[in-house]
Subunit: 326 residues, 2 copies
């Protein structure tokens, strides 16, 4: 049986969690959120966060378009984004590398320079790893972090009536990739969002004490909202016109003749934050930042999220990117 | 420049550590030992240990010879072995998986069954991970553990005059692989040492309070002794006749017409422990176990280890397995 026959990546993860997921009093959150949450000392000590991500050449990065420094930067950012989405601060990083036997030393050194720089700017210490050889380059990162118990944000904590919010704008990375794959040249803004995105640690500590549920946007808004709905057992209504898009994303969509929303909903690798929050808390948030945008509302009971179009029509929210899906 | 042009894997790691290695007061040991050692709470709280290992299909495991359950078992054992070599106990594990798009669900489920079983028998909780697709299967494991400060064993703590000791017997995994690669069938003992080796957590907590330096044997005795010599700035004399070999390893060597010591020195994947210890402590150890064997002595000053043959001749100790080496 192939993975696409059972429905794709998320169905596979469910099966593996059923086989291998274990329960332990100190495992506050296990498989199924952006990071695992572990109690290492009696409360009220902060929790330990652990996240791990794999980047494979060809799937997650390409040396055709991105420098090795950028690949290293992105690897750090996408892991730090998982820690930000839990409301935490990253601390210690471990990087394991599979290299083709004929890999260039200069490429590997560039990758590490990019990782080291991104670590420094996010307060992370690179503390170890492993190198070995294989048929294609890949990079596996494990990042530890800590979070105060009162700031921990889970996918499972959205409440009916919460506002659905996002940081920044969405779709730039996917728009850049779509242009690159057509041999078009994205502008510098789009290219930097694809090759060297930053995570939102600059704003996550303002959001975390106020939010209910939070997740980072790595597989597209359509996918991330479904994670929150499924794990919080709620529904969601998203207003299409409210989804923040950068002018360059609209321009790329025009150029390619497609709907710019598809980059935001089905694209991925934005590393912005999606969160839900009680309406009475929004004013407090908006006093501290102008980079959070309300895009919808959490609803009761039904789990399939809805997209409300400009003409008032309601459609099923398109899904995001799912590895292995047919 | 290619990796073999600079000398291989260990030279690459030195270069990467120079680029990216960071110093931090709470990083007790960073890149260069079996696991990183992190201070997470004021002393005398135990240290946090973190180790990470990559297994690539074709290099580190083969579905031709090993069941998916065995691959999962081995992945856990080789990481737990790193924690054992620091004198610690493993606790939380994270497993990231690269799968070919046409991977069999049954194979992946078998892998997780093997990991789950090995985790349970070693007191480890599987707490998270990641799955994605790529051209070849690979598995990246990060394992956390803890160690009492008084039991921490580093590669850098060998002292001239220490006895050099190993646990168990060496070379079985390499002997099995050599037979398999010649289409010969290893006996069950050798095959299980290759496909489903165990680590020495059963004995490491007896050794750790008594040992000075310790390392696990994953790349062959020749390589591991060099790590200890280099990091402790000492020399070593190994007595060839003292290196413990299982009768099946000798039989495999006879069959293949090669020196059985080469399996122990240059083979790898034994996951036994190599350690050094003050002579006056050996009696205390031997009272508690009969599975530790003296194979040599730590010497002063010279860093290149020596092998003393049965005829009294002294040769340069053959090196172990080094990825990327010419």
């Amino acid at each position: 049986m192939k993975i696409q026959d059972i429905g794709g990546e998320f169905e596979l993860i469910d099966r593996l969690a059923a086989i291998a997921g274990q329960v332990h009093g100190d495992l506050v959150v296990g498989i199924g959120d952006d990071a695992a949450v572990i109690r290492t000392a009696p409360e009220p000590a902060p929790y330990l966060l652990v996240t791990t991500d794999l980047l494979v050449e060809g799937s997650h990065f390409s040396s055709r378009w991105c420098s090795p420094e950028q690949v290293g930067h992105k690897a750090v950012a996408c892991n730090a984004s998982d820690i930000a989405a839990m409301g935490g601060k990253p601390s210690w990083m471990f990087a394991s590398l599979v290299l083709a036997p004929n890999a260039d030393v200069e490429w590997v050194e560039g990758l590490y320079r990019g990782m080291a720089r991104a670590c420094r700017s996010n307060g992370i210490i690179l503390a170890g790893g492993d190198t070995t050889h294989g048929p294609a380059a890949s990079l596996s990162i494990t990042l530890l972090g800590i979070v105060d118990q009162g700031h921990l944000c889970l996918r499972s904590q959205a409440k009916p009536g919460d506002l659905i919010m996002v940081t920044g704008t969405l779709g730039a990375s996917a728009a850049a990739l779509a242009l690159l794959e057509k041999n078009d040249k994205p502008d510098l803004y789009l290219l930097s969002k694809h090759c060297a995105p930053d995570c939102r640690l600059d704003i996550s500590d303002i959001i975390a004490p106020l939010a209910n549920a939070m997740i980072d946007i790595s597989d597209g808004l359509g996918s991330e909202i479904r994670h929150i709905c499924r794990q919080s057992r709620v529904g969601a209504e998203i207003v299409a016109d409210r989804i923040p898009l950068h002018p360059e994303v609209r321009r790329a969509a025009d150029q390619l003749g497609i709907d710019p929303l598809s980059f935001a909903l089905q694209g991925g690798e934005d590393y912005e934050l999606l969160f839900t929050m009680a309406p009475e808390r929004v004013e407090g948030l908006m006093k501290r930042t102008d980079d959070c945008h309300q895009i919808g509302i959490v609803t009761q009971g039904q789990y399939e999220p809805v997209l409300i179009l400009a003409d008032g029509n309601r459609i099923r929210l398109p899904e995001g990117y799912n590895h292995f899906k047919k």
